[in-house]
Symmetry: C2
Subunit: 339 residues, 2 copies
């Protein structure tokens, strides 16, 4: 493999000129530049970017910590990241962590060993751990989708509380009074915020909060299916179920139909995320649309700006949501409304 010096020799110039001809062509005369370029061509020279990166101290890599790529929402987020990173000449090092803190910490350490310049974390956990204790130095990190609230790093999030409130209000307007919630993992701030939005709406409508209508889930189809089974068997069955993501909603719909009940006639079901399958469920799913790709591109953009020193104070970006009403939610039956 040919290098700098061989090209210089063949072109009859110095290595500095070769380097300049490639990096800052305007500093090199046309004649010289052509000599260099033809030498490069003749030798089939390719600059060793590992060397360049090593010298510059910038790897050009961004570590992305994602609980699981096998999730349509995260997949779209990653897609958005990839596109933005590519535009900005950065690469994405994808790390599936299954939400495992040790694994997240391990990958975050790639920054310490100069294998990556920064980290995007899609979960509410600081993989740099105690290191941040002092809170002094800005961590090369952006927190997106599910964010920590006490963090000093840039974040990209949805106003989950407002979104959940909007969805709950939609259900209330349809006359529902017993609205169940299938939650995400209990440690998640995302779940906490969505639940807060749900309670906001209930309170405003003067409806008492009923703990028994909350059911835990883990964002998978199966957990939605299982949770719906529990809710159906309640003494006072809910007339609507608000699921914290679409997968659980689709699982819940199946379970409800298996019980011989109808959606939305007997029970309305709402989701969150608006994944590609949402309009194709039966009935099509009422949900909250999130700009998933934008989460990714914004996170990457913020991280690069941070790394390149264009950011002073950690911004907290809030992306917009949209209530998408489809056929899985409908009016509560008359008896219910009158209760």
């Amino acid at each position: 493999m040919s290098n700098n010096r061989e090209v210089a020799k063949l072109a009859g110039v110095s290595v500095a000129t070769v380097s300049r001809a490639l990096q800052k062509p305007e500093l090199v005369s046309l004649k010289t530049r052509n000599k260099v370029l033809s030498a490069i061509k003749k030798l089939d020279y390719r600059p060793n970017l590992m060397a360049a990166k090593f010298r510059s101290g910038k790897s050009g890599n961004l570590v992305v910590l994602v609980p699981t790529v096998a999730n349509l929402f995260f997949a779209r987020v990653i897609s958005g990241m990839q596109e933005e990173a590519h535009k900005r000449s950065y690469s994405i090092l994808l790390c599936n962590t299954f939400g495992n803190p040790e694994m997240e910490e391990g990958y975050a350490k790639m920054v310490h060993t100069f294998q990556a310049d920064g980290v995007i974390q899609l979960r509410a956990y600081n993989p740099f751990g105690a290191e941040d204790a002092g809170g002094n130095a800005a961590l090369p990190m952006v927190n997106a989708c599910e964010v920590l609230d006490d963090t000093t790093v840039p974040t990209v999030a949805l106003d989950n509380r407002a979104a959940a409130r909007a969805m709950t209000e939609h259900l209330l307007q349809l006359g529902h009074r017993r609205i169940a919630v299938i939650k995400g993992p209990k440690s998640s701030p995302l779940t906490r915020d969505r639940l807060a939005g749900y309670r906001d709406a209930l309170e405003e409508a003067g409806i008492a909060f009923d703990e028994s209508l909350l059911c835990p889930g883990d964002f998978t189809l199966h957990s939605g299916h299982k949770a719906a089974g529990v809710l159906i068997d309640l003494n006072e069955r809910p007339t609507a179920i608000f699921c914290e993501n679409d997968e659980m909603a689709i699982g819940a719909i199946q379970r409800i139909k298996q019980s011989g009940l109808r959606v939305p006639d007997d029970i309305s079901v709402a989701g969150f995320d608006d994944i590609a399958f949402a309009p194709f469920s039966d009935p099509p799913l009422t949900t909250i649309a999130q700009p998933a790709e934008e989460f990714g591109s914004t996170a990457v953009s913020l991280l690069i700006d941070l790394l390149e020193g264009r950011i002073k104070k950690a911004p907290k970006v809030i992306l917009p949501f949209e209530l998408v009403v489809r056929a899985s939610t409908g009016p509560a039956s008359i008896e219910e409304t009158l209760q």
Copy 2:
């Protein structure tokens, strides 16, 4: 940031000893090793792996070219890759290419510039292009999922022809005679092979191949929905539709139900892939299960073996499939069977 030499100085040893204490501890006496380790601790030294990689000429990165991550099958494949790469101390550079050859070629060039050691391509296209013309040097590449047949690189694939044949036979056994196919993009070998398997089964059953029962798609929910619309309106409507992936099958089922027809009573629908949503569609989808994660882990494993010189001849790995019969396929109606 502290380096090699500072550690050496503080520990009162040479840089070579520091390096050895970390890389080959058995070559360093316990006493010296402890001195080095405590110096490392005191200085909070982290070896610059960019430097090490640069020197060794191995980046430890694998480029993964995927048409789109926002696809549940590919997402699982990538998940499998990530896990295997992590085990073997390699990193995955994820590249969403949208099946764009220029983009694929661009990313593949990362190998030339030493940013990556090898490439895993999940599509039937050689991103190293004409370079392979001579077919001399082994390309640092593994082709998985949708593979080229004339390639000299290792491949990981399913016996798509046998799988499609198995599915078609299943439909034939249920009495179907007019079996439509919603295909993938026409340039895909995957589509070609699955179609061949379909024809094998028809031929064996003595049923004439009918071109009008083939409908193009692009593996999306919408394309399945649209294609089903066309098939429903045929003069002689098919009694079963074999879709080349589950997304299209789910799209097709929705379209069929929208026409007031029932699945499987009026039309049976089968998919391919067995994505997480398959058992949750209504009715649950009959499909071909593929070991998606294994595609990923096997591809990574092969590529690393290739890069590290443990492979002589390019292996062609065939992974097993499984016919998963659920409720979306059922017996053809009597009239149909008697026709």
